[in-house]
Symmetry: C2
Subunit: 428 residues, 2 copies
């Protein structure tokens, strides 16, 4: 995929080494950007009303529910089912981050992690139980839950194993979406779980809730009582409409800023307990491997992170000249405070422009202008959140953990730009 | 559709007449909401892992691009084609506002207004011309435009004829979506039109731009030069992905806060001129009818407006008790400053809670708790924006215009609640 350059920018004042420019470079101004092809006034006027094929015959009819253009049919999630027929429906699909813009992920392209396929649940038959260490065990139909006071938040969800191929010694060669696309961002609407827990009346001994899905894996995950009470959402709506089946229709948990794995889909019970469940998924898959052979369970908070989505591997630059760098940043703790970009492999950094609104625990879109001189370069982005947390270098991230750690990878991503304009993943 | 009540709220302090409560009513607190059905601890625990049909067999496979649940197949746009076979593809489809939550409208449910069907355009063949009173006429391929510096904004689009049935003497009986669903809200990403106009170099005589679509209607609309330069967007992305065909794929104009009709879809040329085009659509359809037989052309700004989406006609209340009222507010000029709700036909009003973030020229979601005493009531919402503009009463709106005016209807909507819990549209 070609990534064309501009011939001229408004202001080519350097912001850092390697050709990074200030945010003024692409602002409107007297200087032309020079990407449009000049034509004669006669040629432009000759393009007359009704001359195009699409203007000569009526278009397609109205539809009740629309679909993307057939020309966008290749914008799909990459699917990874590592166990094949031995474990059908156990795998992941990746959001094509390098093909998207803005901060909302289309619901049809949200990443997925299923353990035993996508449950297809009749909402009329579905029940949610809130029980365990509570004064009044409760049962909710979907209809009853739908009428509860709702909250709406734009939140990212990220699998704890996102970007884990970058923890391997050799840099995997894949698109940005295939490497980092186990993260997506949606507008979620639902009932605060705390409302339901308060209605049930939690016991003083309550320290955890154990959530379970109605899928074939009966996925079971333990969640500390504080986030469960404070800001967990029993989500019923995604991007304005009811949840997609792949997101747990008719309801799932969403835990702002925590790993998506504990946001149990097809949620059918929340049991209040004094200890975690130590389920297979949280013990076998959910442990962080630490130095000296130790491991840590129940580390849920997602770190601060960013990635340059355009350009990235699969795109190719069209020779020396001006380009816009764009990407996404997010933090499980707070708002993004700044994103810095380097075009010289981390020697110098320039601040990117952040697109408003910058929301807590949501994607933030960033961008910066760049004047590429046509020689090899290394592009990197480094996000910092409002709590002062910054992305580590890859080497520093590796040192925090033991060998084989694949969870919570949030180190700075480096894209090598070759002289021919192609990009590839490199470890710096 | 049943709209169940709560049995108990946290705080039943009145906020206005007719049973409106304060925003504290549904906050978490000591008092239970009482919508969940109490069950015994044994019954809750008996609901064991693996007992549900969906837990007994693997679910469906992964997909490249997901779709809504089959159980949501009735969530569709209502289609109105008033001329039938005489003018195929000339009509409207309405967003089902009463079935949605949050502020993002799913792209598949965005309202539509087509004049001659949905053009199906190959982006490789598409060109955008910027010409007329410019120094350098320019031609853009989609690929070139895709690489321009982009902006992202969450903006509502509203047809100037939205809600026009409420201008008729008799109140139309229809759902909220059928009455008011020619408005939707999306995250739009694209290139500022001003960037392209500056690159072309506009002449000092430029006062308008004339935009034309590549559809079978060759839809042609005139836009004043100021909004065209200041904040118009050549939108290429909607809600994260490329535009849907119905929204003008591969590109459309989006004019923040102005009537959607001038945001030409399948945009293929922008001609800079010193006068409007006086096209059929803007002269025959686009005139506001004023008192004393006068009419006004080129009135584009959309007023401040709101509507209660839940409950609304089609929903029915389940007897006296506590309910949450929810709705949408928007203004073409600025952010929403407040939304007031009345449950007594406008005699008293209470402020609704506004869901953050409250963005300029975007939908804002509001809600308030209500204690219905089971007797007939009239629910109304009234929005005010940051410039102090407030929705008029219907009678005041009618007085501003001449007989037959159908555009820019933004009066307060009243829903009559009957003793049996059904709702209907009334004129107050």
């Amino acid at each position: 995929m070609a990534w064309p350059r501009f011939d001229v920018v408004s202001d080519d004042t350097p912001a850092a080494g390697g050709g990074l420019l200030t945010r003024r470079a692409f602002l409107k101004g007297a200087a032309a950007l020079g990407a449009g092809a000049a034509i004669s006034a006669e040629a432009a006027d000759a393009h007359l009303t009704g001359a195009l094929p699409s203007q000569k015959a009526p278009g397609r009819a109205f539809s009740g529910y629309g679909q993307p253009s057939s020309f966008e049919k290749d914008v799909q999630r990459a699917i990874l089912e590592p166990y094949g027929a031995a474990a059908p429906g156990n795998g992941q699909s990746f959001t094509p981050l390098h093909l998207l813009r803005g901060i909302i992920t289309p619901s049809g392209l949200h990443f997925e992690r299923h353990h035993h396929g996508v449950a297809d649940i009749d909402p009329k038959q579905h029940r949610l139980f809130v029980h365990g260490l509570v004064k009044h065990p409760l049962k909710f139909t979907v209809d009853r839950l739908l009428r509860y006071p709702m909250v709406t938040r734009t939140l990212f969800l990220e699998c704890a194993r996102n970007s884990s191929r970058n923890a391997l010694p050799e840099p995997a060669q894949a698109t940005c979406g295939e490497l980092h696309g186990l993260v997506s961002c949606s507008e979620w609407t639902g009932v605060p779980l705390g409302t339901l827990l308060e209605e049930a009346g939690i016991d003083a001994k309550a320290k955890w809730v154990v959530a379970q899905g109605a899928d074939a894996a009966s996925l079971t995950r333990s969640i500390p009582i504080d986030p469960a009470m404070d800001d967990a959402i029993v989500a019923l709506w995604q991007n304005g409409e009811r949840l997609r089946p792949e997101q747990g229709y008719p309801m799932r948990l969403v835990l702002p800023g925590l790993e998506s794995c504990i946001g149990v889909k097809w949620l059918h019970r929340v049991k209040v307990t004094d200890a975690p469940a130590y389920s297979r998924e949280e013990v076998a898959e959910g442990a962080d491997l630490l130095p000296e052979g130790k491991s840590q369970l129940f580390h849920f908070a997602m770190g601060v992170k960013s990635v340059i989505t355009q350009p990235s591997p699969g795109w190719s630059l069209q020779g020396r000249g001006f380009y816009e760098i764009a990407g996404l940043a997010w933090s499980g703790s707070d708002r993004i405070a700044k994103v810095e970009i380097s075009a010289d492999g981390g020697k110098t950094w320039a601040p990117a422009e952040l697109q408003e609104p910058v929301l807590s625990k949501s994607f933030t879109r960033f961008r910066l202008a760049w004047n590429w001189n046509g020689t090899p370069a290394v592009l990197m982005s480094r996000a910092t959140d409002q709590r002062g947390q910054t992305q580590p270098a890859r080497s520093a991230w590796l040192q925090q953990y033991g060998a084989g750690q694949r969870r919570h990878y949030n180190a700075v991503q480096a894209w090598q730009v070759e002289s021919d304009g192609t990009l590839r993943n490199v470890h710096l």
